[in-house]
Every structure is written in C-alpha cells, then in structure tokens.
Symmetry: C2
Subunit: 333 residues, 2 copies
C-alpha cells in the first residue's frame, strides 16, 4: 500500500501524541504473549506482532480514552487486548485464505504450519479475554465479546458470499462491518466506556470507529485492484484470484452488459480464470467507473466519521482523529 510522506503524516502525529502509551502497550503485549510451557506461542506471535504493523487499532483505544480524559492505567490493557484479537484473526485468516505473505513476510502458516496458526490464534484470543477482565468493567467485556462474534460471523459470511454474483452492497457492508469495522468501533467505543464517557460520547466514538473501519476496508479493496491508477503492480488482483465479491466488482457487476456478466460468472462464480482475465476485469472496472464510485462511497463514510466527532470536546486528539479519517482515503488519492 503506497502511502507517500504527505498522507502518512496524520498517523504519525497521532502516534507521536500517544508514543508513551504505545510503548507501554508494546511492553504489555510482549509480556502477555509469553507462555511458560509452550515456546512455540511467543515465536509465532512475535513473528506477526513485531513485523511492524501500524498498530492502528490499539491507537484508536488509546485515542478515545485519552481524548475523554482517562488517566490510566487500563487503556494500556484494552489496547493490548484489541491488538491480540486482531493478531488472532490475522493468524486464522491466513489459514482460511491459504495466504503466503503478510506485511511483506512469509505467513506463520507457511513458516510453521496451519495447526500452529489455529492454536496460537486461539491462545491469543483467550489472552485477550484475560486482559480485558482486568479493568473490571463488564460493559467492556460485552462490547468486545460482541465484536468478536461479529468478526467471526463476517468471516463466515464472506466465505459463503464469495463466488456468488448475487452478493450486493448490503451483504458487502455486513461482511466489511464484520471483518474490519467491528474491531475499529469496539476499540473506540470501549475506550470511551473506560473513560466513563456520556452515552452521547460513547455513541459518537462508536460511530467514528464504525465509519472509519468501513472506509478503511473499501480503500483496501480498491487498492487490491491497483488503486485509482488502475495499473497492475505487485499484489494486485489477490481478491480477483480468490473470487471475492468486493465493492468495485459488485458495482461493475450491477452495471454489466450480458457479455460482461458472462465474464464475471466465468471468472468469479466458476473460478475459470485465464491469462489476461485480470486485465479484462480492470478494463471493466474502468469502463463503469467502479473504482471511482467505490472511492466516492469511502469518502461518504469518512464524512460520517468526521461528523461523529463533532459532539466530542475540543482536544488535539480529536483533530488528529479527524485527519486520520481523511488519511484513510488519501491512500487512493
């Protein structure tokens, strides 16, 4: 995902604001990913956790709590919780998708095996629940248990909705809420609950996380077709090869001629993909302006995310969250 220096600045500013907290989160993650009996666990976890992800989800927890004046210390636990849940889902996703690369490195299922990825994912999920018991707030447990169920449900839905041209934008939205937005919104909502925020503030931060997560995933799905330049770079076309019905394709299918529909049926539904098909798919996306339309949807979600922030008190972090929403779509400027 090419992000030039200019557009990465909002994330850097937020990271700088939260640098001290984030260091504590990383220390807690290292401490809690240990296992007294099974050294395989920290090996597999470290491979993924230390690969230099953006730590966007834990930052959202910290930002929500800090923005509302939470003095600590449990925002650190909650941020580590969210990163553990995220890491567990990545481990399982890579098994499900039979992925071979993640964050530019070989996946755990490739370096070790599927068994280790499944079981270490389970371990991290359990560790996440242990961590979230510590703040002693049942409502936070409820939020994160609900988010975990929504994530798994979204993944199963994607499994069955893939390869089915009947998948429409509404089903896509459910899948995206599951696979991405549920953890974003749980991060911001639980951070607000931890800070004893008002119901209005909690709702605002939920809405922000939800909209940000949806925009984020739409942009990822645009980038999977090469972004707005619509040229074939490396890693372009994974979703096409995996026959996933993402927003650009859903839009192109909705506008397809009979002949084009036959193309999508052959490549996506039947999985009969040949030399030149990805180029043809890109041409059809371009013909119907599908990537631009998807980007327009992402911009709408960004606007909703920014609007949600309006009821929150003035704070540097509030402005940084607003900039972060813009940044998410700037990846496909």
């Amino acid at each position: 995902m090419g992000m030039n220096e200019n557009v990465s600045k909002p994330l850097d500013r937020l990271a700088a604001e939260l640098a001290g907290d984030m260091e504590a989160v990383n220390a807690l993650i290292r401490e809690r990913m240990a296992s007294r009996h099974a050294p395989r666990i920290p090996e597999v976890t470290a491979h993924l956790v230390e690969a230099g992800g953006k730590r966007l989800r834990p930052m959202l927890v910290l930002a929500a709590a800090r923005l509302l004046g939470y003095p600590g210390p449990y925002h650190i636990h909650l941020a580590a919780t969210v990163e553990f849940i995220h890491t567990a889902t990545l481990l399982h996703d890579d098994v499900v998708d039979e992925s071979r690369q993640r964050r530019g490195r070989p996946t755990a299922n490739l370096l070790w095996d599927n068994k280790s990825s499944v079981l270490v994912g389970d371990y991290l999920f359990a560790r996440a629940f242990q961590l979230m018991v510590e703040p002693g707030k049942l409502r936070i447990l409820d939020i994160l248990a609900n988010a975990s169920a929504t994530i798994a449900e979204g993944e199963v839905l994607q499994l069955t909705a893939a390869q089915d041209l009947a998948t429409d934008e509404q089903i896509y939205l459910q899948v995206v809420r599951g696979k991405t937005a549920a953890l974003f919104s749980a991060a911001t909502e639980s951070g607000a609950v931890l800070a004893d925020a008002t119901p209005e503030q909690v709702q605002a931060l939920f809405d922000y996380g939800d909209a940000l997560g949806i925009a984020f995933q739409i942009v990822d799905d645009i980038l999977d077709y090469g972004g707005m330049t619509e040229t074939i770079g490396k890693n372009v076309g994974d979703d096409f090869r995996e026959r996933k019905l993402t927003l650009p394709v859903i839009k192109a299918v909705a506008a397809a001629s009979a002949e084009e529909r036959a193309f999508w049926q052959r490549t996506i539904e039947k999985g009969d993909q040949r030399e030149g098909d990805l180029e043809q798919a890109l041409a059809l996306l371009a013909r119907h302006g599908a990537l631009a339309a998807a980007r327009g949807d992402a911009l709408d979600w960004v606007a909703r995310a920014r609007t949600a922030l309006a009821v929150l008190p003035p704070h540097p972090i509030r402005d940084q969250l607003s900039d972060l929403a813009d940044f998410v779509v700037a990846r496909v400027a």
Copy 2:
C-alpha cells in the same frame, strides 16, 4: 468407548437429576448458535452439538451450582458457555489433527472444509464469552478466560511434545490439564462461584474437576490402545499413528531396553511406521504393564476427586459426582 449398562448408570443418574436444567441448556444452545447473517454457522454447529455427546461438561456446571443450592437462572448460561467452548475446541482440534470421524460421524472439516471449522469455532468461542458476561460476575469471566488460555496452551504444547521421546509424565500432565482438565475444573469451579460458595467449597470443586478431568483423559489414552483387553478393535491406535506421546507409551519408553527404544524412535520420533508396528507397540505396552500402570494412575486421580468432595454439604448430587468419578475409570475395568 464400550461402556456396559452397569457402569453407565452413574452418568444416567446425574443426568436424570439434572434433566430439567439440561433441557434448558439445550434450548439456550440452539438459540445462541443461530446467526442472523451466516446460515453456515448453525449448520456446522448443529452437526456437532446434536451428534449426541455426553454433555459431561455442562452437567458439571449444573451439578456444582445445584449442589450448593444455587436457585438459577444463570447456571444455564454458564453450562451453555462451557459446551460452546468445548465445541469450539473440538472443531479446531479436528482441523489440527486432520480427523475424519468424531462421535461416529464425519467431521465438520470433512463435510464442509477447514475454513468453516476454524471460523465457526471462533464464532462459538465469541458466543461463549457473550454468554458468560450475562451473569455479571467478573470472577467467572476470569476463570473461563484462564481455562481457555490453558486449553490452547496445552494444545500447542502437545503439538510440540508429540513425536519427542523426551516427553515425560510431567509434560504429559501439563498437556492433559490443558486439553481436558482445564475445562472440567473451570466448569465445577465457576458453578461454585456462581452459587456464592465459600473459598473452601470453590477449591474443593476445582480440585474435583481437575482430578476428574485428568483421570478421564488417562482413561481415553488407555482406550486408544484398546483398553485393558489389549486387543485391536476399531479406532485403536489413532494416537500411535499420530505419534502422540500419551501416558502408556511414556511408561513403556521409560522402561524400554535399547532395542525397544529404537522401535519407539523409529515409529514415534521418525514416524516410520510399518505393517505390524501397532501390534508390536501393544506387545511392548503389555510387557511393561504400561496400560495397567496408567490405569493405576487414573485410579489415584479418582481417589483425589472423591476426597475433594468431602468438604461439601451432603446432597444426592455429591454422591452422584462421587460415583461419576468411579465410572470414569470403570470404562477400563
């Protein structure tokens, strides 16, 4: 697992005592395994949940709570929670072990695919956590989160300890506590906590579940080599083929001559298994009385389980739990 009419009675008596509660548990399980968006989830879950497992773990929750006078209603939620966690681990275990049969039926990973088993397992695990938030007791969440971590850790440990002749009885015990006893003891302990039991009673029910679970798993591992009759029936030798270091083999390896050790190295460590090797393994187990010694260990754990019950108030359920402990080893009478 051949259980004759005589030895199955203790379980039947407990089941009869808890029949009304158990019906409520089954109804709650059916309700909560539903998914609004992903019909694949209840399909896969029903295949496993309705295959007629013994429901031993939820019964332990109900028994502990009822024995201590808990009036309801959350013992039902807690029992369903424990069954969901158990079902989730079975789904993932069958992926990890590449199993093709479970409870006499094809496994979910065979009928659907590994992806569905991984993701539906994740969903059930999340649903379990949602359910256990409802009683509003943080300590119960703590117990079950800890048990879930111990289960996953035990599975990873088994993954790395398998195929390694250095695995000793201490490591075996850690694996068994993880894969089996952790959920037994969490079931009885959390049932006691739900009933606001005294610390002494909570400890007693934890100890009972722990010892019962260990005895149960040792007996399963004996049965995998055909039980005390040491004849080759159907399903005998799965652990041998999967190169798992279970208690009978650990005992036989500890007493092995140099020649015998070479046999175990070839078959278990190197995985070079030939025609007649299972018969040879059984002969070595018989030569060193390994199955009888393992049964002796199981009987010791049963004694501990029964002893733990002594501090609990007199109650028909207390006697049934005591009989249940005997029943567990009677499977290899």
